[in-house]
Structure formats: structure tokens, C-alpha cells
């Protein structure tokens, strides 16, 4: 009996590694290996044609002390992330709460609100956005009906980032679907009890809905931050593809792309990638650490 059980365990071990084989190959050759590779390349000068030459921390020193395009693109990306993520999530939550009030034809509304998330990542929609926000486009036409002279959103370096932010907020549907599913999980008797106690709708939202939904908000927040830091297509297509006008669309990923694949300064691009990893890791860690103060996991999971 003992030997057969041991052979069963061995068989399971073998089967498991057989099943994991594709993932293991991918993990070592396409993820872990390249990660270490880019860490090494970030300490070299490398242009793909001649072998990398070791320059130590020079790339990092250059980036952090003497590269105004880097600091500009970092600030621009921060601006994009910290305006678009909160607004998108707030919007998603607001619409989800309204739709959750047992409204008729919920399915149709959910579909319509989801469609922007579905299509928003494509080149086609980025082109449409460019036209709608053009100085003679639909947005400025509506503004002119209201007697406001709209600026030329696309060609003015101060405004173009806001068109990219609206494109991101427009795609609130996927977060909304997650919130809707979360709202369904909140037991109705909590609200009934609150009503008996005479709590107002507003109070119910802050004392029941928000805490009960906080794990879902937490998940959405982390994923949105990670995702938004990596934005590329809208900046590339709505701008001129080289960061213009005046570096106003020079998002971090676009800068990295131009350094690595336009100027073939691949060591420098790798250093940019590692700095980005540290920044994203830092923000994710902050959200995780603060989460114990604002994320509520219910009684059964507390103290885990």
C-alpha cells in the first residue's frame, strides 16, 4: 500500500510538471530570463548591432539627473493616471449604483455602457477621438451652442492630454460591470435593517455600500493603476507618434518605445523599464499597505 501510494504521488508529480511545461518554458525564457536580461542591459550601452558595453549605473544617473524628457514624461504619465483612474472608478461606481436600483432593461444599458471598453483600445477609436476633439469637431460644436469658444484640443500642448484622459474615462464600462456584480453580493437585509433604523440613502451608501464594496474597489484600483501607467496607443495615435506637440503626448511608454526602437538605445530603454517597474511596484505596495485601513473583508475573513 505504501509503495503504491508513493508511486501515485510520483505519477502526480510527473503529470503536474508535464502540464506545467509550456508555462515553465515561457516563465524562464520569456519572463524571468528577459527580466534579468533587461536588468543587465540597463547597465550597458547597447544598440542591437554591436555587443553591449558595460557602463555601470551611467544610464540611471543620466535619466535621473540629466534627462528633461524623462521627468516630463513621468509627470505627464502621473497626471494621466491620477486624473483618469479616480474619475473612471468614481463614474463606474456612480452608474453602477444607479443601474442597480432594480431598473428595467438593465441588460441593454449594461451592454451600451460596456461597448466603449470593448472598442476603446483600438487604433480606430483613437482616430475618431482625434476628430471629435479637433478644433472644428463635435466637442467644440456643442461648446459653441453654449456660447463657449473651445480651444484646439489636439494641436494645443496644454489640452491634448485631457482628450486622452476623456478617452480613458469613456471606458468606465468594464469597471462598472465588476461593481455591478459586487453590488449584487451585498445582502439586502443590511439595507432593510438600515431603513428600519431610519438611515438616509446617503448614509446607507457610505456605511453599507462603500465598505461592502471595498474589496472590489481595491481590485479595480490596483488593476487600473497598473494598466494606466502602461498606456500607449491613445498617446501614439492622438498625438503625432513622436510625443508632440511639444512632448505633450510623451507618455512614459512612448518615450521608452522611441528610445529603444527608434533610436535603438536599448540599454537606456531597459533602464527606463526598470525605473517604471519600481514606480508601479511602489504604488501597488502603497495601495496594498493602506488597504488594511479601508478594505473591509467581512467577518469570516478578518484577521487573515
Amino acid at each position: 500500500m505504501g509503495t503504491s501510494r508513493r508511486s501515485l504521488a510520483r505519477e502526480q508529480n510527473q503529470t503536474a510538471y508535464l502540464f506545467l511545461l509550456p508555462w515553465l518554458i515561457g516563465f524562464f525564457f520569456l519572463t524571468a530570463g528577459p527580466m534579468l536580461g533587461s536588468l543587465y542591459l540597463s547597465l550597458t550601452k547597447y544598440n542591437l548591432l554591436s555587443p553591449p558595453t558595460w557602463i555601470g549605473l551611467d544610464n540611471y544617473v543620466q535619466i535621473l539627473t540629466n534627462d528633461s524628457t524623462f521627468s516630463g514624461s513621468l509627470l505627464l504619465t502621473f497626471k494621466y493616471v491620477f486624473i483618469s483612474v479616480p474619475l473612471r472608478l468614481a463614474f463606474a461606481l456612480l452608474v453602477a449604483v444607479v443601474l442597480n436600483k432594480g431598473i428595467r432593461a438593465l441588460g441593454i444599458y449594461r451592454t451600451i455602457y460596456y461597448i466603449p471598453s470593448l472598442l476603446g483600445g483600438s487604433v480606430a477609436i483613437a482616430i475618431v477621438w482625434r476628430q471629435i476633439f479637433d478644433s472644428t469637431g463635435a466637442v467644440n460644436k456643442v461648446l459653441s451652442w453654449l456660447g463657449i469658444q473651445g480651444p484646439s484640443w489636439i494641436s494645443h500642448p496644454d489640452y491634448i492630454v485631457y482628450t486622452i484622459i476623456t478617452l480613458s474615462i469613456w471606458q468606465f464600462g468594464s469597471a462598472m460591470v465588476i461593481f455591478l456584480a459586487g453590488l449584487k453580493q451585498i445582502p439586502a437585509d443590511l439595507y432593510e435593517a438600515a431603513q428600519v433604523d431610519g438611515a438616509r440613502k446617503w448614509n446607507q451608501f457610505f456605511s453599507i455600500t462603500l465598505p461592502m464594496l471595498s474589496p472590489v474597489i481595491f481590485f479595480n484600483l490596483i488593476m487600473s493603476i497598473i494598466h494606466s501607467f502602461q498606456a500607449f496607443t491613445p498617446a501614439f495615435v492622438i498625438g503625432d507618434g513622436r510625443g508632440g506637440p511639444l512632448d505633450a503626448t510623451m507618455f512614459y511608454t512612448l518615450y521608452l518605445y522611441l528610445k529603444g526602437f527608434s533610436f535603438f538605445d536599448m540599454g537606456y530603454a531597459s533602464a527606463l523599464a526598470w525605473i517604471m517597474l519600481l514606480i508601479i511596484g511602489g504604488f501597488t505596495a502603497i495601495v496594498f499597505v493602506t488597504s488594511k485601513y479601508w478594505v473591509f473583508y467581512g467577518d469570516n475573513k478578518e484577521g487573515r
Partner: protein, 279 residues
């Protein structure tokens, strides 16, 4: 009172419908403009074309430099379908191992898998390009498809692990007693029950691959290998001299496959987002 309540109910819909129209307006603008003659696209603001033409579609379909848009569509379909197959097969294999099998170092591998979900693709971008360049795979579809056959989209592994954990263990245990091997359990018991998660994976992989402009741009420069996204970008000239009618017509067509997939599998789609979001 009853009438009042009914009005109240209807009134609730008004802001939701207005917002819905606002949300869908850019898409409607794209579709309607694609049927307008070139000179009317920017002068006629109405969503219903005063003059209706199919010329943009005919012109756009011609593509450029002798390569038609049908080629770009075929290329995009090839890449997307190969990617879907890769993700569905390799991610489900890995997920079964993680969810059901006991093996050495399983905890370490599982946590490494979780970490890769959050990893930005930038940190592997340059060395991956170097590797694929060494293999002379630039201007082939391998760099776009091979990663999917090596289960690098670990997000889907997690999705399936969660799903398999929801399948009662008693099912496999009774099968083991009946003499089934682990492989047979995977193929005969788990795989059929996993179909909803497989469909979710397939849909998302299809859409994300279809829209993956960045990797396609990096790895493909040969016009004959161009995808739909690259074709549209090539038609589009930011300095303003594009053939707008053709561009918008092809843009409209480029959104059709993902919209069709979405509408066909809507149920799996929305459930997929909801369940992965919750966990």
C-alpha cells in the same frame, strides 16, 4: 399615485438614456461618417448621412501599394486564432496542475505565476526583442503567437484555477477510485466543466490580440504581414492629408469582428469580467 410612480420610473431612465447616447456617440459618428462622401465628413454634422455612398469602402478595401485590406484582415485573424488556441490549451493545462495536482515546489511556482500577472511588459520587452531578433523572427508571427503557446498570459491561468477550485473534488476522487489517471481526469472531467472559463479566455484573447497594436508595430514592418491595426495606422496621416472616407470605412470594419464576438458571447463576457473581478 400609481401614475406618479410610473412617471417617476420613466424619469429615472432619462439621464441613463442621455448618458448612453453620449457614450455611443463616437461610435455612431464613425459609422455614419464612413458612409458620407469625403467632402461632407467634416462639414455635415448630422449622424444621418444626407448623401449616402459606399465609395469609401470600395476605396479603402483597395489598401495601398497593391495590397488589399482583405490581406490585413486575414493576417489579423490568423494571429488572433492561433493566439486563442495557444492560450486556451496551455493555460488550462497549467491551471489544472495548480488547482488539482500535488507536486514539489507547487507553492513557489504558484506565487511566481501570480507575480507575473502584475508585471508591466516593459521589463521584458527589450530582451524579448533581442531574442526574437537573434532567432531571425522579426517579420514573422512567432513573436506574437509563441508567447500564448507558452502560457505567458498568466491572468487566464488564475481565472481557470479559480474556476476549477469551484468544481467539487468528489468528482475527481470517485474517478480516481474508478482507475482514471490524472490525465484522464483533466480530459474527461475537468475540461468539459471548464468550458465557460475557456470561452471567457478565448474571447478576451481574441479581442486583446486583435487590438494589440504595440507588439504588432514592433515586430512587423513587412507590408504583406500587416494586421488591420497597422493597416489603419498606415492609412492615417497625422499631418492631415489622409483619405478620411477610406480611413473611417476601414476603421468601422476593424471594429466589426470584436463587436460580433462580444454580442455573440455576451453572457460569458460579462460573467467573466465579474467573476475575475471579484476574486
Amino acid at each position: 399615485m400609481v401614475i406618479n410612480a410610473r412617471y417617476g420610473q420613466a424619469l429615472k431612465h432619462v439621464p441613463i438614456i442621455l448618458l448612453g447616447l453620449l457614450m455611443i456617440y463616437p461610435v455612431l459618428w464613425l459609422i455614419s461618417s464612413s458612409f458620407k462622401p469625403n467632402q461632407l465628413i467634416f462639414s455635415d454634422p448630422s449622424l444621418w448621412p444626407r448623401t449616402f455612398t459606399l465609395e469609401n469602402y470600395v476605396n479603402g478595401w483597395q489598401g495601398f501599394q497593391g495590397i488589399k485590406f482583405s490581406r490585413f484582415f486575414a493576417n489579423s485573424f490568423i494571429i488572433s486564432i492561433l493566439s486563442v488556441l495557444g492560450n486556451v490549451i496551455t493555460c488550462s493545462l497549467a491551471a489544472f496542475a495548480f488547482a488539482r495536482l500535488k507536486f514539489k515546489f507547487s507553492k513557489i511556482w504558484f506565487s511566481l505565476m501570480l507575480v507575473t500577472i502584475m508585471l508591466p511588459y516593459h521589463v521584458t520587452l527589450v530582451p524579448q526583442y533581442v531574442i526574437f531578433n537573434e532567432l531571425h523572427w522579426i517579420n514573422t508571427y512567432y513573436p506574437l503567437v509563441l508567447p500564448k503557446w507558452l502560457a505567458t498570459d498568466s491572468f487566464f491561468i488564475l481565472l481557470m484555477v479559480q474556476f476549477i477550485r469551484g468544481i467539487p473534488r468528489e468528482l475527481d476522487e470517485s474517478a480516481t477510485i474508478d482507475g482514471c489517471s490524472q490525465k484522464q481526469i483533466y480530459f474527461r472531467m475537468i475540461l468539459p466543466l471548464l468550458v465557460p472559463a475557456l470561452i471567457t479566455t478565448a474571447i478576451f484573447t481574441f479581442i486583446w490580440t486583435w487590438d494589440d497594436f504595440f507588439s504588432q508595430m514592433i515586430y512587423l514592418s513587412d507590408l504583406r504581414l500587416f494586421t488591420v491595426q497597422l493597416g489603419i495606422r498606415a492609412l492615417f496621416d497625422p499631418s492631415g492629408s489622409s483619405d478620411w472616407g477610406a480611413l473611417l470605412a476601414m476603421s468601422t470594419l476593424s471594429l466589426l469582428p470584436i463587436t460580433a464576438v462580444f454580442l455573440m458571447f455576451q453572457r460569458y463576457f460579462l460573467e467573466g469580467i465579474a467573476t475575475t473581478g471579484l476574486k
